[in-house]
Amino acid sequence: MTTNPSIAPIGPGGAGRLAAPRSLLLSKRASRLRRVLALLGHGVLFLIASSSALAVIFIFFFIARDAIPFFRLEGFKEFFTGTAWYPTHEPPVFGALPIFVGSGLVTLGAILVAVPLGVPAAVCLSDVLPFSVRQYVKPVIEMLAAIPSVAFGFFALVIFTPLLQEHGGRVLAGVWWVVATPLVALLVFVLSDVVANWVVGEARHRAVRVLLAVLMAAAGAWLLFDVGGRFAALTISSGTNALNVSIILGLMALPTVVSVSEDALQAVGRELREGAYALGSTRAEVLVRVIIPAAGSGICAAVILGVMRAVGETMVVWMASGNAAQIPQPWYNLLAPVRTLTATIAGDMGEADQSAGSAHYHVLFAMALALLAISFVCNLISEQVIRRSALKNE
C-alpha cells in the first residue's frame, strides 16, 4: 500500500517542492483532508480487492471445519480405500473410492474429447484461417461457454442417452471411421516410406515401395474394419454412462481449451514464424516443430483449465452419468455408469443436512474439501506453467 510515485506531484509535498503558483498551494487543513481521503480510498479499494481472497479463505475454513468431524468419526482409511458407498444404510458405509474413480474417469474422458478437438481448433484459428474468418469463428466457439450447464444436461439425458442406447454401436463405429481413417492413412504413408528407406535404402526400387505401401494399406484397412466391426457390435445397455458425460463435458471444456491455447499460440512472436519460413520450412513444419512447442506450456495451462471445468461440473454429471457408485470393470470402461464427487454432494445434500452432526452430512464436506484441494492443485500448476511460458517468451 505504498503511494504510487507517479501521482506524487499532485500530492501536497510535491506541490510544495515545485513552488507552484499560490493558487495551487493547499492549506494545511486541506492537505490533511486530502491525505485522509487518499488513505480512505486506498483502504476501500484494498478491501474490495481482497474480498475474493477472503471468500476463498472463508470457504476453505468452513468446509474444512465441517469435513474434519467426518475423519474424526470414521477415519481416513475407509473413505479413501473403501469401495462400498451406502451412506443411508444402517450401519452406513462411506467408501468413496468409486466416486473418486468416477470423477477421474469422467475427467479423463473429457480431456480425451476436449484436447484433440480443442488444440487443433486453436492452431487452425491462430495460424491457418484468415483473420476475417477467425473473427467470426472464435466468438461462436466461445458461445459454447455461455450455454447453461442444465441445458447441456438436458441434451445429454433426453437426446444423447437414447441415441447411445438405440444406435450405440453404430454411433461409436461411425466416430471410429471418421477419426481413424485419416490417421491410419497418414500412418500408412509415413510408415511405408520409412520402412522402404530402411529396407532398400535411398535407391529407387519402385516395385518394393509400391509393394510395401500396398501391404501397409491392407494392414491399415484390416485394422479399420476389425475395430470398426467390434465397435458396431457393441450394445450399450445404459446410455447414461461415463462416455456420455465425457463427451458433453469435453464440449463444455472446449471453449476454455480453444480460447486459452489460441492466446498462447498468438503470443508466440511473429519473428519466430517468419524466421522459420525464411529457413525454408513448410507451414506444417512451422506449426509442428516451432509454434506448438513454443506455445507448449500455454497449451498445457489451457488443458488444465479445461480439466478444472470438467472436474467441477455438477448438473450434467448429476443428470447423465447414471450416478452408480461403482468402479467400472475394467477401470477404463467408459460405457459403465459412474458417480462423481460433485453429483454426490449435490444429490445427497438435502437429506443429509437433516441431521447436522451425522457422518453423512460431514462426508459431503470431506468430498468438497477433496474437490477444493484438487482444483487448488490444478490452479497452482496452471499458474506455474503460465508463468514459465511467460518467462520463456521474454
Binding site: T83, A84, W85, Y86, P87, T88, H89, E90, P98, L157, V158, T161, P162, Q165, S237, S238, G239, T240, W318, M319, G322, N323, A324, A325, Q326, A336, P337, R339, G347, D348, M349, G350, E351, A352, D353, Q354, S355
Partner: protein, 295 residues
C-alpha cells in the same frame, strides 16, 4: 377467528388506541394466513399443486406457493418454519421430530392420500410379472439379465431414485428389506426422470409413484396389479401413505385448515384420483370407475 376480530372491534369502541392496536394485529394475522407456503416431496407435489390451484380459484385473495424439493427438504423447511405445510412421502423421522421440537415446532401429520410404488419396465419388455423377492434379487444384483426371468437376452439396467427421496426410502424398506442395493444401480433425481430413463432404455427396470406410469409398463407384483383399489385395500405389497405436515393442528376456520383438509372433500378426492393417487376413503365401492381413468 372472525368472532375474535369482532370482539376486538367492540372493545375498540372503548379505547381508540386499543382498537387501532388490535386492528393492526388482526390485519397482520389475516395477512399471514392469506399466504400458504408448501414445500416437500415431489410425489405429494402434484396433489398440493392441484389443491393450491383449486383453493386459489375458490379464494382469489389467498396465495399458495408449492415447491417440490424432496421430503427431506420439506421436513427441514417445516423445522425451520420456512413453510406452513411440508409434503412428505414417508413419515417424519425421529431425528426430524427431535429437531422440530427443539425449534419449537410441533409436527402434525395429515394423511392426504395413499400411494403405490409401481415397478415399471420398458414397454417393449415381454416380462409381465415378478415376485417381490425377484425384484429384490434384481436390485441386489443377483439377477443380471432378463433371460433369467423369461425375457430376452438383455442386461438389466436398474434405475433407482436418489437416496435423498422418500420414494427411495419407501422402496428400501418395502422391497429391499434393508438389504443393500447393488453398486451398479443408477440413481436419478425425480419420478419424471426415472420414468424417462425406463421409457427410453430397453433393459431398464425402475420404481415410480403410481401417477408416473405413463409410457412405461407396470409389472404385476406377487400377482397383484398396481391399481388403486389394490393399493387402497392393502393387497398390493408396495404401497404407502402420503403426508402433509403442519406445525400443530391448524386453527379451525383458517385457510390453512381448509387447505390441509381438502382431501376429505369430494372435490379433493377427485383431484387426488386424477393425479393417479388413491384417496383415503371407502375406496373399493367405486373401484371400477376409478380404474377406468388410469393414466
Amino acid at each position: 377467528m372472525q368472532r375474535a376480530v369482532q370482539g376486538t372491534r367492540r372493545l375498540g369502541g372503548l379505547s381508540v388506541i386499543l382498537c387501532l392496536g388490535c386492528l393492526v394485529a388482526a390485519a397482520q394475522e389475516d395477512g399471514a394466513a392469506r399466504k400458504i407456503v408448501v414445500d416437500g416431496s415431489t410425489t405429494v407435489g402434484p396433489i398440493a399443486k392441484a389443491f393450491a390451484g383449486y383453493y386459489m380459484a375458490q379464494n382469489p385473495d389467498v396465495n399458495i406457493t408449492v415447491s417440490e424439493s424432496g421430503s427431506g427438504n420439506g421436513a427441514k423447511s417445516l423445522i425451520n418454519s420456512t413453510c406452513d405445510v411440508a409434503d412428505l412421502s414417508r413419515f417424519m423421522k425421529v431425528k426430524e421430530f427431535e429437531a422440530a421440537v427443539a425449534n419449537g415446532v410441533c409436527p402434525v401429520a395429515h394423511v392426504v392420500a395413499m400411494d403405490g410404488l409401481a415397478i415399471v419396465v420398458n414397454p417393449r419388455n415381454p416380462v409381465q410379472e415378478l415376485s417381490l423377492a425377484q425384484v429384490r434379487d434384481i436390485y441386489k444384483g443377483q439377477i443380471k439379465n432378463w433371460s433369467e426371468l423369461g425375457g430376452p437376452n438383455v442386461a438389466i439396467v436398474k434405475i433407482s431414485r436418489d437416496t435423498n427421496s422418500g420414494t427411495y426410502e419407501t422402496f428400501e424398506s418395502l422391497v429391499m428389506d434393508n438389504e443393500k442395493i447393488a453398486p451398479d444401480t443408477e440413481y436419478v433425481g425425480s419420478n419424471g426422470a426415472a420414468r424417462q430413463r425406463v421409457k427410453s432404455t430397453p433393459g431398464a427396470i425402475g420404481y415410480v409413484g403410481l401417477g408416473f406410469t405413463k409410457g412405461v409398463k407396470r409389472l404385476l407384483i406377487d400377482g397383484v396389479e398396481a391399481t388403486k383399489e389394490n393399493v387402497a385395500s392393502g393387497r398390493y405389497p408396495v404401497a404407502r401413505p402420503l403426508f402433509m405436515f403442519t406445525n400443530g393442528y391448524p386453527k379451525l376456520g383458517t385457510h390453512l385448515h381448509a387447505f390441509v383438509t381438502l382431501h376429505l372433500t369430494s372435490d379433493g378426492q377427485e383431484m387426488i384420483e386424477r393425479k393417479g393417487y388413491v384417496p383415503v376413503t371407502s375406496y373399493p365401492a367405486k373401484a371400477r370407475l376409478v380404474n377406468d381413468d388410469e393414466s
